[in-house]
Amino acid sequence: MENENKKILDVKDLKIQIKMDEGLLTPVRGVNFSVYENETLGLVGESGCGKSLTCKAILGINGKKAHASGNIDFYKDGEVMNLLDLKPDGEKIRSIRGKQISMVFQEPMTSFSPLFTIGSQMTETIRLHITKDKKEAKEIAIDMMKKVGISNAEKRFTQYPHEFSGGMLQRALIATSLVCHPRLLIADEPTTALDVTIQAQILELMQQLQKDYGMGILYVTHDLGTVAKICDRVIVMYLGKIVEMASVRDLFHNPIHPYTRGLIGSVHKIGGKKERLFSIDGTVPLAMNLSDVCGFEDRCTSKCEACKGCEPELTEVSEGHFVACYRGAEFANGGQKNV
């Protein structure tokens, strides 16, 4: 992908393993991608495909049980540092978390502590990273609250989370995460818990703020509608691996991997024909004791002989369009698709 924007993040061969009583779980099995400034990168997949773990690994907040290997290179003022090398509770990562890279979580209701006012929780970040002065911190916070469209910000500043509606609280959370003007915003299903009307407002808000600050956004979701609306590039994950990566137009107009095609096919389009929805048979296997074959093999409708061998690599089939499928090139060149 030709990209004039600066690279912010480079994830290389990221693997995450979790020791369980039943054995070793590998929810993320070698993921490679980059995020650039001014770009929104979508990360799509079903629950359990490892998308949230990947995001949390970037910030080093997966907890001690999850062991991550590989590289997460963060580019900052010409310097490169591997975030995985940093101590998860060390000073260095703490100076990045919230300031350089921040995250918006799925549930605004549980992301704030009910015991403190919104204002005190917002200024916590500001006083840690920007200024020690309480008054100045308050001004910055209120300014940011106004930017994200919270009316009556001065009053809202002193209120507790229970006095906010879901949409307003998500705005407050976005305000908190953006207050230090991060270079990378990780948004983990930020609108899933919200109504469509509020979801649309929040998405437009994020697009506007991206224009203002030029940050990169890593947008995690399983909703293909929002992906089509706001993303520039999209990564599709299945069973801890990237199965397809393409620009948003390529992905929707020419999906190649059978899993991607299944996902897109299973969404009903309003106004479209009311035929039976396509559904992918079976369920996602548990990421434990996996064999070497392609992870999607037993659910795939287009499998061939080669699929029984080792897992396919992610390869470029057309410019900027990567697929991990043995029949990728064939499908890309107009081969018959079963979906």
């Binding site: 009307t197 979801q199 649309a200 089509a228 969404v267 009903h268 106004g271 929805l277």
Partner: protein
């Protein structure tokens, strides 16, 4: 012509909390025919769930009636019925809940969960129960060896199948699906939606499908009701609601739905402000504070919910609705 199975007349459900009355369901009327699916959409807090629960009799309505034509051909008013009869009718009216994780008792096996309604309502022999449970389990796509397991061993989609089996084992006629697929991943959602449609054909079921996901509602419903702040603002067949809506709220709601096609995202019609506090709804039309076509009349008078075109009910003062836009149809072959 199909018979009317449910006729809701001016149904109201008010809750009193700390001296404030919240009109969760306010003067709702609609009717539905046997074998059809009626979708109920609206933002959170608009009263869709309360409407569903009032219809099944989980809440006693404050006023109004819900006339249900039972299997014996008699019409009963569910809002005013003696307990014994209600218990009988509950067999015919079942509910499927939103969250497959919290609606199943983790200490019961799948068999116990599915058989519980049978044990509570009928005196059956053990073998008969077993036979019925197995039959239903197979119908919803659960293997019989799964019956001995506990809910924790299942994925979200499988759990929702258990919830569906529990509702179906009574051979109901009317099922209220309250956000039945909202918690599921898209591909699993498709499986469950297909299952619900198959079962409807198979067992002659009538659904009330409550959801905030407009694309699923459009797919599954024959008719759709749009709710706002406890009131039904529009009720019509699905195609009319989506292609020729007549209420400004429906228009705004439709324009906010993200379309899974990067080239097609339409101009959103912004809704000013937030949904008003239901304890203190605006005077006049409840939607007038956010409506872009608002006129003087809307501030003072509550619009009547009336039939504007055949089968198309709207509660709005606008006389000319030609500027209200529906969805943009996707191109063919997509």
């Amino acid at each position: 012509m199909s018979e009317v199975i449910l006729k809701v007349n001016n149904l109201c459900k008010y809750f009193d909390s700390k001296g404030v009355t919240i009109r969760a369901v306010n003067d709702i009327s609609f009717e539905m025919e046997k074998g059809e699916t009626v979708g109920i959409v609206g933002e959170s807090g608009c009263g869709k769930t309360t409407l569903g629960r009032t219809i099944v009799g989980a809440y006693v309505p404050s006023s109004g009636s819900a006339e249900y034509r039972a299997a014996d051909g008699e019409v009963y008013d569910l809002s005013n019925i003696d307990k014994k009869k209600m218990k009988e009718l509950r067999k015919e009216i079942q509910m499927i809940f939103q969250d497959p994780y919290s609606s199943l008792d983790p200490r019961m096996t799948v068999f116990d969960i599915i058989s519980e309604p049978l044990k509570a309502n009928f005196k059956l022999k053990k073998e008969e129960i077993e036979e019925k449970v197995k039959f239903i389990a197979e119908k919803v796509g659960l293997k019989t060896e799964f019956l001995k397991r506990y809910p924790h061993a299942f994925s979200g989609g499988q759990r929702q199948r258990i919830g569906i089996a529990r509702a179906l084992v009574m051979y109901p006629r009317l099922i209220i699906c309250d956000e039945a697929v909202s918690a599921l991943d898209v591909s699993v959602q498709a499986q469950v939606v297909n299952l619900l449609k198959d079962l409807q054909k198979d067992m002659d079921l009538t659904y009330i499908f409550i959801s905030h996901d407009l694309s699923v509602v459009e797919h599954i419903s024959d008719r759709v009701g749009v709710m706002y702040l406890g009131r039904m603002v529009e009720y019509a067949d699905t195609a009319s609601i989506f292609e020729k809506p007549m209420h400004p709220y429906t228009e705004a709601l439709l324009s906010a739905v993200p379309i899974p096609d990067p080239d097609m995202n339409n101009e959103r019609i912004p809704l000013a402000g937030e949904i008003p506090n239901p304890a203190n709804p605006p005077k006049g039309c409840p939607f007038h504070t956010r409506c872009r076509y608002c006129t003087e009349k809307c501030h003072t008078e509550v619009p009547e919910f009336r039939e504007r075109e055949k089968g198309h009910f709207v509660a709005c003062h606008l006389t000319d609705t030609s500027m209200i836009k529906g969805i943009v149809k996707p191109k063919e072959g997509m």
